[in-house]
């Protein structure tokens, strides 16, 4: 332990000297994630490590595990400020609890670029993510495409009060309001968990028997839990449409087998795009943007990295593009 601290102290010290002596030392960027325990944040962090500027050694990335705790994230901000990181990429656990840390970093002259999850702060240098309200609309539309304008659906929600849950619920609501023929039988949380959604769906299949035409799940884990329950009950997935959000690997495989629909949230584009924007704000790197994000999505306008918000488009995963997307995961 002591050695590590000594090492840290020395590296901080030399970094401080180097900043004055040479312009060419690596730019240090901290990535504060809400937690590294899900597949999505793993993909997001891995994408940062694979950013061209990180690969070339021009940038040093340190990924912090927020452990799903706003206080942990706040403390990590303080140490990043103390250690004078050049910029911070922020994926907050909570849209309001993030405001304080952002103000502290900005006051210390460190630009903060949000990514993936929202922060209700006007001090963010920029936000690179995907619009969860849009995701909610798209997942609801997927189900309505399958079952038509009349039918009975159940909605499986994320942890109540989390911003992704709130926004996706809003999007689902927007669409359902246009279809009075759709009846919502149940609306419950399964806390993003596959095992919880499995039990919940088993119980709904009991209480509603063959009434359920569609399952709108706010994420893929829960959609897959519902699929397992439908299969276990001996029912056919031809009669019940299931859709989720995120595009995790298991969901892509399920789409391949025709079991569900999902819309992909591009972790790579969100992470690498945010890093590009942060570099633009630091104004120390030439020939931006460096990542493929900006050529991959034609509709995405780079705008010299100066825009307040970059909405990375969602991709509807279909049988025609699922192979390509799965291959990118390998």
């Amino acid at each position: 332990m002591k050695k590590i601290f000594a090492g840290l102290a020395i590296s901080t010290f030399t970094a401080a000297i180097n900043t004055q002596a040479f312009a060419a030392d690596p730019i240090r960027i901290g990535a504060a994630t809400y937690g590294l325990q899900g597949e999505f944040m793993q993909l997001w962090s891995n994408a940062l490590e694979n950013h061209p500027a990180v690969m070339s050694g021009d940038i040093e990335i340190t990924v912090f595990d927020g452990r799903y705790d706003a206080l942990v994230q706040s403390n990590q901000f303080d140490s990043m400020i103390t250690r004078q990181y050049d910029a911070i990429l922020f994926v907050p656990i909570d849209a309001d609890a993030c405001i304080g840390p952002v103000i502290r970093a900005t006051t210390a002259g460190i630009p903060v670029v949000g990514s993936n999850t929202r922060c209700n702060s006007d001090q963010l240098a920029s936000f690179v993510g995907s619009d969860d309200i849009l995701a909610g609309q798209m997942v609801a539309e997927e189900i309505i495409d399958k079952i038509g304008g009349d039918g009975k659906v159940v909605i499986i929600e994320g942890p109540i009060g989390q911003s992704a849950q709130i926004d996706r619920a809003k999007g689902i609501e927007n669409v359902l309001a246009e279809y009075p023929g759709i009846e919502v039988l149940e609306r419950r949380t399964a806390n993003w968990s596959r095992a919880e959604a499995l039990s919940l769906m088993e119980n709904w299949l009991t209480s509603h028997q063959d009434e359920i035409d569609g399952v709108i799940a706010q994420n893929d884990e829960m959609a897959i839990g519902a699929i397992r329950a439908i299969q276990a009950s001996g029912r056919s997935l031809d009669n019940i449409a299931v859709a989720g959000v995120d595009g995790i690997t298991d969901a892509l495989k399920a789409v391949q087998q025709g079991q569900m629909a999902t819309i992909l949230q591009d972790a790579t584009a969100q992470a690498q795009g945010a890093l590009d924007v942060a570099l633009a704000r630091l104004d120390e790197t030439d020939s931006l943007p460096l990542s493929e994000t900006w050529t991959k999505y034609k509709e995405l306008d780079w705008a010299n990295g100066e825009a307040d918000t970059y909405n990375i488009p969602w991709t509807v995963v279909t049988s025609s593009n699922v192979e390509t997307l799965l291959n990118q995961r390998q």
Binding site: Q42, R188, W204
Partner: protein
């Protein structure tokens, strides 16, 4: 390991044997009445509750917590506690799944052995530290809760392991004569635990060690060995639960099983096993598990918000212990 023993309690247990039998009978009877009452209410409230397929659902849904709670009963009977069951289960699930790839269709035995072995290994560490080095069980298993979770993330690199072989999935999704495999596994473990606690010397020693460790040691029981064994049992059952959850959800997720220790402890406590050790029966744990499962299922069927589910479960735990206390006071 508790160093002090109360002479008074040892006297009470020996001299009031007949009343104690009555008390344990009452305790079983009470929880059965509570369970049946709950079922009656739910069957009136929901026409689907008593359906065969729903009852099988309930059994399937409780089987994982049931297996964990049985291990927990052994531990709590010796005055211990095992807070690490959820994490050990997740670790075992990840280890087992890593040997259960779709290509390994024939070799079901390997993932089973690896999963059970992973649970056993962590359980043995808990056992050695508590029994040999006298680390308080709460502290040791709290440490293991974190260590096992850490190992799970290290082993899996934070990513889920899916695409499991169909023979492995059978452990969680298959049926034998119409009865789900997880339910059969739970039933088998329950019968084994019931037999062990009731008819074997080991079972009697578990009660003796929990009731009065000093007297047990003086009468020649290998107290350390017994305490080591109950943590090893708990760990192995976590291994089994890990196999079951991975097979049921078709994937081993590193974040699975967070806070599962709470449901396992709740089932044991609702089932009337005393946290002070030495008193309790495995049949009580069975009903504790069923009560929690029926509440979750019933409130889902009725469309009641999950917020109430947590409220009701918590209240039942407190009431169960309250009834236990008042019964003890009457003795």
């Amino acid at each position: 390991m508790p160093q002090h023993t109360s002479l008074i309690s040892s006297e009470t247990t020996s001299t009031k044997k007949s009343q104690r039998t009555l008390a344990t009978f009452m305790s079983d009877y009470g929880i059965m009445v509570a369970f049946i009452a709950l079922c009656v209410v739910l069957s009136i409230a929901s026409p689907y509750f008593l359906g065969v397929s729903n009852l099988l659902n309930v059994l399937r849904q409780v089987s994982i917590n049931g297996v964990l709670a049985i291990g927990m009963t052994f531990v709590i009977l010796t005055r211990g506690i095992d807070l690490s069951v959820g994490s050990m289960m997740a670790f075992a699930a990840i280890v087992a799944a890593s040997f259960a790839g779709a290509s390994a269709d024939s070799a079901l035995i390997l993932p089973i052995l690896m999963g059970l072995g992973a649970g056993l290994a962590l359980g043995c560490i808990n056992g050695v530290m508590v029994a040999r080095f006298a680390i308080p069980p709460f502290v040791m298993t709290l440490g293991m809760l974190s260590m096992a979770r850490g190992l799970t993330y290290i082993y899996s690199d934070g990513m889920p392991i899916s695409s499991l072989s169909s023979s492995f999935l059978w452990l969680g999704q298959g049926t034998v004569a119409g009865i789900p495999v997880p339910v059969l596994l739970f039933a088998a473990i329950f019968l084994l635990a019931w037999f062990t606690l009731r008819y074997t010397a080991f079972g009697r020693y578990v009660y003796a060690v929990g009731g009065n460790p000093t007297a047990s040691r003086l009468s020649g029981i290998n107290v350390r060995g017994i305490i080591f064994a109950v943590y090893a049992i708990s760990g192995t059952l976590c291994g089994l639960a890990g196999l079951m959850i991975a097979a049921r959800t078709s994937a081993a997720l590193p974040q699975a099983g967070v806070a599962y220790e709470l449901d396992a402890i709740a089932a044991v406590v609702i089932g009337g096993t005393s946290l002070a050790g030495g008193k309790g029966r495995i049949i009580g744990t069975l009903f504790g598990v069923l009560i929690i499962g029926v509440i979750n299922n019933g409130l889902d069927l009725l469309g009641v918000s999950s917020f109430y589910q947590q409220l009701v479960k918590g209240a039942i735990i407190v009431v169960a212990v309250m009834l236990d206390r008042s019964r003890e006071a009457n003795d």
